[in-house]
Symmetry: C3
Subunit: 466 residues, 3 copies
C-alpha cells in the first residue's frame, strides 16, 4: 500500500504528460548524487559511537515535533507520545502514531514518513490501528540488524557531508573522532550555534557566559566575552566547521559602539537589562557575528521569525521543541541594513537568510540576494520545507535572483532516517520546477540539466564553502 | 449562453485531462450531499414567515455588497442600485446591474450569479442592457411561484443545517418557531454575535449594555455585565446555537484582572475611555468569550482584519455593509498567545480562526491549528471565497496542517439564492485540489475519495459540533 | 541558440496542450497591436535629437540596474560594468556581461534580453566569454545603421504612445519639438514627477523649492509653493502630460490644515524639520497632489515601498539607481483612507496604485479598486514585472476586482530596446491567464478574446486618459 505511492517513479512530478517527461529526465540526472547536508540537527555522538537506534517510537515519533504536533492537535496529550515526566511506553506511543496515520495525508511529514518506511525499512503495510503492532514488531527486529546502525546507514544513504549543530562550548570530540577514523567516509562537520550565549533573555545566558569566559582564561567583561566567542569559533574551525547558525527572534541588526555594548553587557550580567536592552544587544551581537564571519570565514546562517514555546503549559511540562514554535511576520530589509552596510560586499562573506514568512521571498530576500554578493536565499525552511511551498519559493525567487543566489537544499532535521526522503523530495521538486520552465520555452532543456546539477550539488558546496 | 458555462460538467476543474478525470469522479462523490451552512447571514424571520422574495433587484442586487461594489467602482452611484434615502426603482437598478454584467467576468460573484441564474431561476439569456427588461419580467413572474418561497427553496437546495447570525438580545422566536414546526426539515440555528456589546468604540455600546443589563435583572457593573452575557449565551444555546461569532478589528487578546477590567468598563460607561482603553478592553473581552466558550461549549469563530466603512461619505449616506470594508495585515501568533496559553488545550474548546490576509494561512494559522487541539483554520472568507484563492488556501495550509484541521466550507452569505452555487464551487475546488495530489502521486485515489467526504460533510459537522 | 527559445511560437504559454492552443489564439489577437507605454523612463532628448545609441555596453548593460545587479551579486564590482568614477571600457564591460549570461536564466531580465538580442538586433549566438567579442563587434556595427536610431526604432517597435518621466522644472522643449514634428508619429508625453520637491528629506529639497518658487515669480511661503506646483502641472498639461507620478516611501496620506502645513514647510526651509515632520509633510503633500489631480485631471500614480539606496557605500561611489533599492512591507488600507475619504469618488479622478509587496494585491488593492471608482490596481512593477509574478497578480486580483480595475501593462523602463520584449511578455501572460479561465470553463472563449483586447489596448488608454 505504502509502496504504491512511495515507489511511483513519477511521485511529485507535474501531471501534464509532456512536462512530466522532462521532469523525469531531470530527476534522473541527480537522483543518485551524494547527499550534501550543510545544516541539520543529528547528534554527532550517535554517529561517532554508532549507537544502535532505540525502539521504533523513540526513533520515529517521540523526538520529531513535526510528527507529534499533528497527533497532539487531534487531542492526544504529548505524554501519550512518549514525552514528559510520565511518558507512555514505546509500543503505546507507536499505536497512537499508527492510529493517527491519516492525519498526515498531504503533509510534508506524511510524504517523508511514507518514503522512509518503504525505502529505509521496507515496510509495505499501511500504518493503522490494526497494523500498528505488526509494524512495530517488524521495525524492532529491523533495528537490531547491523545494517541499521547509524554508520552503515550513512553509507547506505550516500551522505557525503553532514553538518551537526553544536553548543559553542562543545569539545567536538566526536567530530574529531570521526575525522580521525579512516574507515568512515562521511565528512561530519560541527556548526557554531551561539544563541544561548548572545541572547541575554535566554534563561541560561548568565551561566553560559560565565562558563564561556572561564573557558577562555577567566577574564571578565565585554571585551573578554567577544574574545572568548572568537576563540570558540576558532575551535570550531579547527574541527572542520563551515558555518555559524543564528536562531534569532528577528533579523534586526545594529552596530553599537564599544561603550554602549559594554554598558548593556554589564547590565545584563547584573540582571538589570530591560526587554529593550535585550533586543538591542541581540541585534548588536548579530552584527558582531557578521564581523567575525568576515574575519574568520565561517558562513553565517540566520533563522528568524519563530515565536518559540508559544504554549507555556506545554513548555513547562515537556520542554522546548515540542511543536509549538509558531512563525510570525518579519522584516529583513530595514533590519539587515546596518549589517549589510558594513559587510554586504565584504570579500568571501557568505550570509544565508532563511524565513518562515513566505512573503519575504519575492519582496525582500530575492532583491537582497540579487544585489549583495554575500547574501544567499536560504531554502524553504521548517513548515515551508514541503513540495508546494518549495515550488512557490522557486517561483517567487527565480525571476528576480535566478538560481545562483539560493543556498541549495537544507534538511535541518534531527530525524536521521528521513534524510534521504527529504533530499529526494527536494530533487523531485527542483526537477518539476525546471521542467515547467522548459515546457514553457523559458529555458532550454540542456540548460535545465546544467541547472539541476548546480542547485542540487554545486550550490551547497559553493555557498557553504565545502 | 449563461448555461453553456454554468452547466458545463467540468466547470472549475483543472485543464489537464488526466487530472480532470480524477476531479470529476471526486466531485461526483459529494455533488448531491446536503448543504451544511454553519455560518451565514440569512434572516431567520424570512424563513419562519416564508416571506416571498421581493423583486429581482431587491433579491439579487441591492443587498449584496459583493454585487453593488463592482458596479459602484465603474462609476454608478449606490442610489442608482437601490440604496440610500432616494433609491432607484427596482427595474432601473436591474438595468444598471445587467448593463454591468461584463464586469463580473472572472470574479467570484460572477461565478455564483451565473450558476444561480441558470440553476435556481432557469434564466438562459446572458444579462446585458438589451436583455435586462426581459430577464426582469421573467424573474418577477418566477418569484411569484410558490416553489420560489424561502421554505420551498430550502428543501430544493437540500439545506440540512443553516446558521443565522443574531443580536445577543434577539428573542430567537423565529428559530423557536422553525424548530417547533414538524413540517420543516432544515435545522436553522442562531449564532451569538456580541460585537456591539463588547467593543466600547461601537456607537451603540452604551445603550446596548444598558439593554443587556436590563434584560438580566437590572444589576449594573462589570460583574453583572459578564453575567448578562453568560445568560444570553445560555438563551442561544437553549435555542440550538452552536457557535458565537466575533468580528473584531484585530485578534488581540489579553487577560485583565477583574479590577482592571472593571475600571475600563466603568470608564467606558462614563465615556472616558481612550482609544487605547478600547483596544485593551476589546482584547480582554475576546479572551473572556473564549473562557465562556470553554464553559458552555459554544464554538468560537473569529473574523478580524477588516477596516470597516473605509469611505466615510458612503457610510454616512448608505450605512454599513455597502462594499467598502477593506482588509489589512493582521498578526495572529502573538495576538492569540494569551488566549491560547489558557484555553488552547481546553477540552472540547473549538476556535475557528478566519483571515482576509492570505499570508497568515501558511505562516500562522496552519502552524497554530497543527498544534492546538482547539484551533481550526477557517475556510477562505469574503474576498478569498473564490476558486483560485481556495486553491491557494489548500496549498498553503495542507502541507503543515493536513486536512483535518480546517473548518469545512462557510458560505457566510446574506444572498440566500447563491447558497447552492457557493457550496458547489467549493466542492469543485476541493475536488480539483485533491485531484492534483492524486495525479502527482502524493495521495491515493481511494484516500482522496475519503478526504473529500470528510472536508465537505464531516468537517463542518465535527468542527461546529453539529 | 538564442533564437530557439526567443522565436518559439509558444514561448511563455502553459504546457497543457488544450490550454496552450487557447493561449496561442488569444495572443495572436493582440500580438501586433501598437504599444501603449503610459509610464517609463526613456529620455525625451534622445528621441527628439535622434541620438545614435552608443556602444553595446552603454546601451544594454551599464545603465540597466536590473542587469548590473545580477553581475554585481556574482562578485563583480560595478566599476567593471562601466559605472562610477573609474569605469571599465565598454568592451570590458561587455565581456563581463557575456560571461555572466547564465546568471539570467529564469529571470525577467534574461527573458527580455534574449528577445531583444534576437528580435531587435538579430543576434543568434548565445552570449558567453567565448562569443563576447564577436557579438560586441556585430552589435557595434548594427548600432551605426540608420534603422537603429531611436526614431526609426520607435516606428519599427510600433510605439503609439510613450510617456517619459520628468522633473517639474523641465522646460519640456523636447516634447514640444516632437509634438511639432509632422514626420514623427509617436505621441511622446511627459510625466510630472515632483518627489524631490515634496519630500523634505530629499537632499536637494531646499534648492529645488527655491528654484520652483523662482520659476513662479519669486513669491515665498507655503501658499506660493502650492501655487508654483499647480503652475508646473499646468505647464505639463499644456505639453501633453496625462499623469503625475509619486515615488513615496510609504503611501501614507494626511490632510493638514493650512496653518500646520505652513508651519512644517517653514521648519523645513530653515532645516529644523524632524524625521516625523518629514513623514507628515510627505503624507500631506501626497494628499495635496490628489487634490490637484481632481482639479486638473492628471492621472495620479503612486509607487511606494522601496528602501532606496540600501547599501550606502555603493550609493556614495556609484550614485542612485544602481541596483540596491529593496522593497519592504507596506500598508495601503489605512494609509490611503484620508485621501480616499475626500477624493475616492471624485469625478474623473484616476489613482493608480502600485506595489512591490505582492501580499497587497489580494488583501488591499483589489478590494480598494473593486469599490472606489478612482482606484486602479497598477500592473506588477519592477521585481514583479515577470511572467510568474504577473500570473500571481492576475490570480490575486481578478476574483475580487475583475479585469476592468487594473491599469494595463506598464513597462517602466529606461532600457528603450527592451520595450517590445516587455510588452510581448505581458501579452503572452495575459493570454496564458485568460486561456486557463477558458480551459476551466470559467469564461467563454469569445469573452476572453474581448478581454484580452481590453486589458492590452483599451485599459491603458482608459486608465491614463489617452
Amino acid at each position: 500500500m505504502t509502496g504504491q505511492l512511495a515507489d511511483h517513479p513519477d511521485r511529485l512530478f507535474p501531471a501534464d504528460p509532456g512536462t512530466r517527461d522532462i521532469a523525469r529526465a531531470l530527476h534522473a540526472r541527480v537522483a543518485d548524487l551524494p547527499i550534501i547536508s550543510p545544516h541539520g540537527h543529528v547528534d554527532a555522538a550517535v554517529i561517532a559511537q554508532d549507537t544502535p537506534f532505540p525502539d521504533p517510537a523513540a526513533l520515529l515519533v517521540t523526538p520529531d515535533h513535526y510528527v507529534t504536533r499533528a497527533i497532539h492537535a487531534s487531542g492526544v496529550p504529548l505524554d501519550k507520545l512518549g514525552l514528559g515526566p510520565t511518558p507512555a511506553a514505546a509500543r503505546e506511543t507507536w499505536r497512537a502514531f499508527c492510529a493517527a496515520w491519516p492525519l498526515y495525508e498531504g503533509t510534508a511529514s506524511g510524504y517523508w514518513l511514507r518514503q522512509e518506511f518503504q525505502h529505509v525499512f521496507g515496510i509495505t503495510q499501511e500504518p493503522s490501528a490494526v497494523t500498528a503492532d505488526s509494524i512495530y514488531d517488524e521495525l524492532s527486529e529491523t533495528l537490531l540488524e547491523p545494517r541499521f546502525r547509524p554508520r552503515a546507514l550513512m553509507k547506505e544513504f550516500n551522505i557525503e557531508v553532514l553538518a551537526t549543530t553544536d553548543d559553542p562550548l562543545d569539545s567536538l570530540e566526536h567530530h574529531a573522532a570521526l575525522t580521525a577514523d579512516p574507515t568512515f567516509a562521511t565528512r561530519v562537520v560541527p556548526t557554531f550555534r551561539p544563541d544561548a550565549y548572545l541572547n541575554i533573555g535566554h534563561v541560561q545566558w548568565k551561566s553560559n557566559v560565565e562558563r564561556l569566559l572561564a573557558s577562555n582564561g577567566g577574564a571578565s567583561g565585554y571585551a573578554a566575552y567577544l574574545a572568548a566567542l572568537e576563540g570558540r569559533r576558532r575551535h570550531f574551525l579547527a574541527h572542520g566547521a563551515v558555518s555559524s547558525d543564528h536562531g534569532v527572534r528577528t533579523p534586526a541588526t545594529v552596530k553599537l559602539d564599544v561603550a554602549d555594548a559594554t554598558r548593556l553587557f554589564d547590565k545584563a550580567q547584573t540582571g538589570e537589562a530591560s526587554a529593550a536592552d535585550r533586543d538591542v544587544f541581540e541585534a548588536h551581537m548579530l552584527y558582531e557575528m557578521a564581523r567575525m564571519s568576515v574575519d574568520d570565514g565561517l558562513v553565517m546562517t540566520v533563522h528568524p521569525g519563530s515565536y518559540r514555546n508559544h504554549h507555556g503549559p506545554t513548555f513547562d511540562a515537556y520542554g522546548p521543541d515540542t511543536g509549538h514554535d509558531i512563525p510570525f511576520a518579519v522584516d529583513y530589509t530595514a533590519a539587515m541594513a546596518p549589517l549589510l552596510q558594513d559587510f554586504g560586499t565584504a570579500k568571501d562573506f557568505h550570509l544565508v537568510l532563511f524565513t518562515l514568512d513566505e512573503t519575504i521571498f519575492s519582496r525582500e530576500l530575492a532583491p537582497l540576494a540579487g544585489f549583495y554578493p554575500s547574501v544567499y536565499v536560504g531554502a524553504p525552511w521548517w513548515f515551508l520545507d514541503a513540495p508546494d511551498a518549495m515550488l512557490r519559493f522557486r517561483s517567487a525567487v527565480t525571476e528576480t535572483a535566478g538560481f545562483s543566489r539560493t543556498s541549495g537544499f537544507i534538511d535541518d532535521t534531527r530525524a536521521f532516517c528521513s534524510i534521504p526522503a527529504r533530499h529526494d523530495t527536494s530533487r523531485r521538486i527542483e526537477a518539476s520546477f525546471l521542467a515547467r520552465l522548459v515546457a514553457e520555452h523559458r529555458i532550454s532543456e540542456d540548460r535545465a540539466h546544467q541547472l539541476i546539477l548546480d542547485v542540487v550539488d554545486a550550490a551547497p558546496r559553493r555557498v557553504f564553502k565545502l
